[in-house]
């Protein structure tokens, strides 16, 4: 008989800028070695995953980490008193730091996580990437973090246009001149704060990798993919698994050198001369993770096993040429569901 775990998952925003929550839940429901009861943790009361069938067994609203980690932990403590959570999988960049800092507190509550260490999380920040590249011997485009508009005039001495202008968590725009950099700096800093990162633009094809490190230098899962269709926010709306061995080597090398712990997504540019530049390292499972599951690597299942102190075997292969295509779908709900969630914070 399979054990049954209660797993709390955030990121139920299955919108055109999707969080990984729903695909993670789908993966966990297909786990071979355990059954699950899923507790959805939602920040907003219109996150689609709240209302989707066969997704969360129970949903609780939680406060944004920006309101303070004490408030968030109190809420988790309350939810845990009702649900007895075994594992928590946070899926938003912006909440990871709070959950990492609260790892011990969560453990005391009996809740396991499997997240990168603070050091791993901090040193791969977009603003720190060039240093990261030097430290671990990785090809990374030159970039510079800027904090105010006066820095924009100086970047012309260090960069050739076009350049990428990026927010510290999300958003990236290609700018061809200082006026555009100014425009994007304002747009990004209002939304995500500073620093804003200016990154050398590398011409080539963007490819992505989802991977899972066991924290000891071993790669448990790795699947590369190329986006075939993107939304106007640059998010994958369709993708296909690749058989490029170099991407797997780069990922395994990074995980080995950094002893990466947890899920990760690498964003890589492959140039026409077959050079590979890492442009971003996201310290969490990406929203397209279900493609990896479809290709034969149930990475969320392996992550749960790691969180519970088990030693899952590394996946040996995956299917090349597996595709995913997202779609939108109108769910019909009732005002009473919305009412219940809004008034009680539970559904």
């Amino acid at each position: 008989m399979k054990p049954k775990y209660t797993i709390a998952v955030t990121g139920l925003n299955n919108t055109d800028n999707p969080g990984p929550g729903v695909p993670v839940i789908r993966a966990l429901r297909e786990a071979k070695e355990f059954d699950v009861r899923i507790i959805g943790l939602a920040y907003e009361n219109l996150e689609p995953g709240i209302y989707m069938e066969n997704t969360a067994d129970k949903v609780y609203q939680i406060p944004y980490p920006s309101t303070g980690s004490d408030e968030l932990m109190q809420r988790i403590e309350y939810i845990n008193s009702k649900e007895d959570i075994d594992v928590l999988i946070p899926n938003f960049d912006a909440e990871l730091f709070t959950f990492m800092m609260s790892e011990r507190k969560l453990k005391e509550m009996g809740i396991q996580t499997f997240l990168p260490t603070i050091k791993q999380f901090e040193e791969r920040h977009k603003s720190e990437l060039p240093e990261y590249g030097k430290k671990y011997g990785l090809d990374i485009p030159f970039s510079k973090a800027i904090t105010n508009l006066s820095d924009i005039n100086n970047i012309q001495y260090e960069f050739e246009y076009p350049v990428l202008v990026k927010g510290k968590f999300y958003d990236a725009y290609l700018a061809y001149n200082p006026a555009q950099v100014t425009e994007f700096f304002n747009k990004i800093s209002v939304k995500w704060g500073v620093p804003v990162i200016i990154q050398q633009f590398i011409r080539g094809t963007e490819v992505n990798v989802v991977a899972l490190g066991d924290g000891k230098g071993n790669t448990i899962g790795v699947v590369p993919m190329r986006k075939q269709y993107i939304t106007d926010k640059g998010k994958a709306w369709g993708g296909i698994t690749l058989g490029d061995e170099n991407l797997i080597k780069i990922t395994k090398n990074l995980i080995e050198k950094t002893k990466w712990r947890g899920g990760m997504e690498l964003e890589i540019i492959k140039t026409h001369t077959d050079k590979y530049y890492i442009i971003e390292i996201n310290p969490r499972i990406p929203a397209w993770v279900y493609l990896a599951v479809g290709a034969g690597q149930n990475i969320p299942e392996a992550l749960v096993k790691l969180a519970l102190g088990e030693k899952p075997e590394a996946f040996k292969s995956y299917d090349i040429g597996k595709m995913f295509i997202r779609y939108s779908y109108d769910l019909i709900g009732d005002i009473s569901q919305f009412e219940k969630l809004s008034l009680t914070g539970e559904l």
Binding site: T205, V207, M225, R226, Q228, I240, L242, G243, D244, I320, G321
Partner: protein
């Protein structure tokens, strides 16, 4: 001229490059050329076969063949 070893071509002429994720549709002629390249036939052998089986002279075929090879090289389907 050698095709990359993991290039897949289906019976319907659908070509998939697993390295890049790109896919292409080939017409009958393209499909035949890819089949010959997979079998590592020489340019002369390929040319002879086409001149024998199609209404085309050698010079015209070779011009078109070279154009097609350039396209394959541009898409990095050959080694």
């Amino acid at each position: 001229m050698k095709l990359k070893k993991n290039i897949a071509v289906s019976e319907t002429g659908f070509l998939f490059d697993p390295n890049s994720g790109e896919s292409f549709s080939l017409n009958e002629t393209g499909k035949k050329i890819l089949q010959f390249l997979k079998e590592e036939k020489s340019e002369n052998q390929i040319s002879e076969w086409f001149v024998k089986n199609y209404e085309v002279d050698q010079a015209t075929f070779e011009n078109n063949f070279n154009d097609f090879i350039t396209v394959l090289q541009n898409f990095r389907i050959t080694e």
